[in-house]
């Protein structure tokens, strides 16, 4: 087998294994900690008899392992179980919300990725001069403020003071794309600022690393123009680390979405999750946890696979 195929399939297998492990870990946490679904439904003041009855009814008295595999089997078939609080099918509630979340994350990525790469290049081009220092000072500030506060700062200054965009990001299916985009403008801005800092810093480091390599010096000493040096020699080697950076930050973005959705009361997965954590609705928390973990693990896996595919030593073995 070609070594690259072997490595990629190994990485895929590892991803699946991690996913399985993560689901077990999440399920295990809810098992190992005091309190369970029955307790959550009845509250702290419930009588022991009522608790026992409900546990019997919900099947919580069966061994944890049995219930884990039932739950896992359900997920594989698209059955995420039933919410405790409103008795609705979780898969149904999640469907539309997941779409909304991915919609928000997609636009945030679409804005932040090119911007981060552009700023990263700019910082490298003017390294240690004022544009670089300005960019690094601004990014240092944005990573020093939590997402939700950036959100409110923007709401206060942009929506309230300037009267631009809506402070609440309500969207529904009857809206046109333009209306939707107007509605999510502020959350997209927040998410962009949050991931931009990390992504831009990592991109800067990745490009600098390549630009300081001996083969770029060789290219310079061949009398190539700056454009050709970057296009022919730096870029082919910088693509892999940059894609890697982008993937890692997209994974981060998906988590950042959780908090930002709460700020803007956006009907996505994050708000759904936080809501049901407050209500101690265990099945919903489990389902959302596994979905977020799956997206996170998946993006990290893609990042690793890109790095493998881009390595010339692996692509052209001896």
């Amino acid at each position: 087998m070609h070594p690259i195929l072997k490595l990629v399939s190994q990485r895929l297998a590892l991803g699946l294994l991690l996913l399985l492990g993560a689901s077990a870990l999440i399920f295990g946490l809810t098992e190992a900690l005091p309190g369970d679904a029955a307790q959550a439904v009845l509250g702290q003041s419930a009588t022991p008899e009522a608790l026992a009855n409900l546990r019997e009814e919900m099947g919580l008295n069966r061994p944890a392992l049995t219930r884990y595999f039932e739950w896992l089997g359900g997920i594989v078939q698209g059955d995420l179980g039933q919410s405790l609080t409103n008795k609705l099918d979780i898969a149904e509630s999640v469907g539309g919300r997941l779409n909304n979340t991915l919609f928000l994350a997609f636009w945030a990525a679409l804005v932040s990725v090119p911007l981060a790469i552009f700023l990263g290049l700019l910082a490298v081009r003017y390294r240690n001069r004022w544009p670089d220092k300005l960019i690094s000072a601004v990014t240092l500030t944005t990573i020093s403020i939590p997402e939700f506060l950036i959100g409110y700062v923007l709401v206060y200054f942009v929506a309230v003071k300037l009267g631009m965009f809506s402070p609440l990001a309500m969207i529904n299916d009857s809206m046109s794309l333009g209306q939707k985009l107007n509605s999510i403008a502020l959350p997209v801005m927040v998410l962009t600022m949050v991931v931009l800092a990390h992504m831009m810093r990592m991109t800067r480091a990745a490009i600098l690393n390549v630009m300081q390599s001996a083969y770029v010096e060789t290219a310079e000493l061949k009398g190539l123009t700056n454009f050709k040096i970057i296009y022919r020699h730096a870029l082919p080697n910088a693509v892999a680390p940059i894609v890697n950076v982008v993937m890692l930050n997209l994974a981060y973005l998906v988590v950042g979405v959780v908090v930002v959705e709460v700020v803007f009361v956006y009907p996505g997965m994050g708000q759904y999750l936080v809501d049901h954590v407050t209500k101690r609705d265990v099945p919903v928390v489990l389902a959302c946890g596994v979905i977020f973990a799956a997206i996170y693990i998946g993006l990290n896996m893609v990042a690793d696979i890109v790095a493998i595919l881009a390595n010339p030593r692996l692509r052209h073995p001896k």
């Binding site: 390599s213 001996a214 083969y215 010096e217 060789t218 290219a219 310079e220 000493l221 061949k222 009398g223 190539l224 123009t225 050709k228 022919r232 020699h233 082919p236 080697n237 010339p312 030593r313 052209h316 001896k318």
Partner: protein, 545 residues
């Protein structure tokens, strides 16, 4: 004068340094250097690290590496001062008129592109040749430089050929655009000695065939003497001496040049073996964990008290592995080690404190062999404390004695390793091992990271200390000049086996086995025409076979 290709006048080069805890400031690293190079001639630039030789070489392409800037003087190439010309003109100069061969071809080739694309790039870019012509020329150069399969090697990626081959590809890259001048920056330093000679000869012939002029930068005077017409000796950014190769080698004027020429001229009389060896290695076979082949095969050597056994070989010969086996870091699969009359446990854990004390080790990289958070006093004092339970004034007195023995003195006792020069660091490491009053010290390439004159000082010190302390050395090295200078007996290693072993006089006298012959004849000698003699000799031999 019309033949002058490169004219450098009063060249001054500065750099910005960033000392920790201080403001960055500019310093001058080259202080007004002048020289001329005629068409088709080779000028050797030689000096220790920090002499500014690479910086001067790159200045002939109007290039400053990192924060380096040319601050004054003139550099004339083909009749124009390249320090005042436009950037567009400099681009035409680089890769067209002047090209560059770096020390590390492995790093200088783009890992993502095929060799051929990179070799012809400058020639095509500078419109010297069409792509097709350039490729034909590249294949011609590959053949001339002795690369295997010259028609197809260009289709490979850099990591698919060996280090010596890639260094030749880099030479092809530099020669392909038919430049007027090539800057060779330590092109053979990273290579094994037997590979170096082939690359050196290939470069020399290529220079002669193409009639190109060259700046040949190296720290090795014996190497530069083989390829250059003139030599400039540099030290700390100043010209020490500038003259023809013949004059520099055979009639040096300056003290510094004389020292460089006479380096490794230490006289050491071979001692006779004693009946009772301090160390005997019997039938050692070893492999690393996780590997399915042996890196040492049935090694047998002996070391006698107060004497030096040199273990010599190229990278991958197993010489450092042998040291790990003797110290107990790598238990062997087979064989045993007898030390000071007792059988040593194969594993470090099974050895007594006495075993450990009497068998000390000095490392190649003194930098990382000392804890950066400990002072010289702590470093040398710890063995005294650990083995002899010395404390307080008694310990300090002994530390000072040891510091005197290594010619540093008491004032060094509170310094940290980072405050020492390379040679001083290695001296402290020597003192640390002597503090244990060992019967034997393993010296693993202890001079190979040092500049020649500093290395010479260390070797002299080791020989003096051997007389005083009556300690035996197992001296691991790839450098035959060092071996000649200090050993009493020699073991030549090749691919995990000892291929030749005996007293120095015997090992270094014919008849030789093939490998020892190759190794010995590959060591550059400090006389003119050595390279041609060796190559002619080898051709004759292979014709005879």
């Amino acid at each position: 004068m019309s033949d002058t290709l490169l004219k450098v006048r009063d060249l001054k080069i500065g750099a910005t340094v960033y000392p920790p805890g201080e403001k960055p400031h500019d310093i001058e690293i080259v202080h007004g250097v002048s020289f001329d190079l005629e068409r088709g001639k080779v000028l050797g630039l030689i000096g220790e690290s920090g002499a500014g030789k690479s910086t001067i070489g790159l200045a002939s392409m109007a290039y400053g590496r990192g924060g380096v800037q040319i601050t004054g003087g003139e550099v004339w190439v083909n009749g124009r001062d390249i320090l005042t010309t436009s950037y567009g003109d400099i681009r035409k100069l680089r890769g067209g008129e002047v090209t560059y061969v770096s020390q590390s071809a492995a790093a200088s080739f783009n890992p993502a592109k095929k060799i051929m694309d990179q070799v012809v790039e400058a020639a095509v870019e500078q419109k010297k040749f069409s792509r097709k012509e350039a490729e034909a020329r590249a294949r011609e150069l590959f053949a001339k430089l002795g690369l295997p399969d010259p028609d197809n090697i260009g289709e490979r990626y850099p990591h698919q050929v060996s280090g010596g081959q890639l260094q030749r590809c880099m030479t092809a890259l530099a020669l392909c655009p038919e430049p007027d001048l090539v800057v060779f920056d330590e092109p053979t330093t990273a290579l094994d000695v037997t590979t170096q000679i082939d690359v050196l000869m290939a470069i020399k012939e290529a220079i002669a065939d193409t009639g190109v002029a060259a700046l040949y930068i190296t720290h090795d005077l014996a190497v530069v003497a083989q390829v250059s017409d003139d030599i400039m000796v540099l030290r700390m950014g100043n010209t020490v001496e500038y003259g023809t190769t013949d004059q520099i080698i055979n009639n040096p004027q300056e003290e510094y040049t004389k020292a460089l020429v006479s380096v490794r001229s230490i006289e050491h009389e071979e001692k006779q073996p004693t009946p009772e060896p301090v160390l005997s290695v019997d039938g050692i076979t070893a492999r690393y964990k996780g590997l399915n082949f042996d890196v040492l095969h049935n090694v047998n050597v002996e070391l006698h008290p107060g004497q030096t056994l040199a273990v010599v070989g190229e990278s991958g010969s197993g010489k450092s592995t042998l040291a790990r086996v003797i110290t107990g870091l790598l238990p062997p699969r087979d064989g045993e080690i007898t030390f000071a009359g007792r059988k040593l446990s194969p594993d470090l854990k099974g050895r007594t404190r006495e075993d450990l004390r009497e068998l000390q080790m000095i490392y190649q990289m003194a930098d990382v062999a000392m804890n950066p958070r400990q002072t010289v006093g702590t470093i040398i004092g710890r063995p005294l404390e650990f083995y002899f339970n010395m404390r307080g004034a008694e310990k300090r007195k002994r530390i000072v004695e040891l510091l005197d023995e290594i010619e540093l003195g008491e004032k060094f006792i509170d310094r940290y390793p980072a405050e020492l020069s390379g040679g001083q660091k290695q001296r402290v490491c020597i003192a640390r091992s002597l503090a244990a009053k060992p019967k034997m010290i393993i010296c693993d390439e202890v001079t190979s990271a040092l500049d020649p004159l500093v290395a010479d000082g260390i070797l002299k010190l080791l020989l003096d200390l051997q007389k005083i302390e009556d300690v035996a050395y197992l001296f691991i090295t790839h450098d035959l000049a060092t071996v000649r200078a200090i050993s009493d007996s020699i073991a030549v290693m090749y691919q995990g086996r000892v291929v030749r072993y005996g007293p120095k006089s015997q090992v270094l006298s014919p008849p030789f086995d093939d490998y020892t012959d190759l190794l010995l004849s590959s060591v550059p000698e400090m006389h003119l025409g050595w390279l041609e003699e060796v190559v002619a000799h080898r051709k004759m031999e292979s014709a005879g076979n």
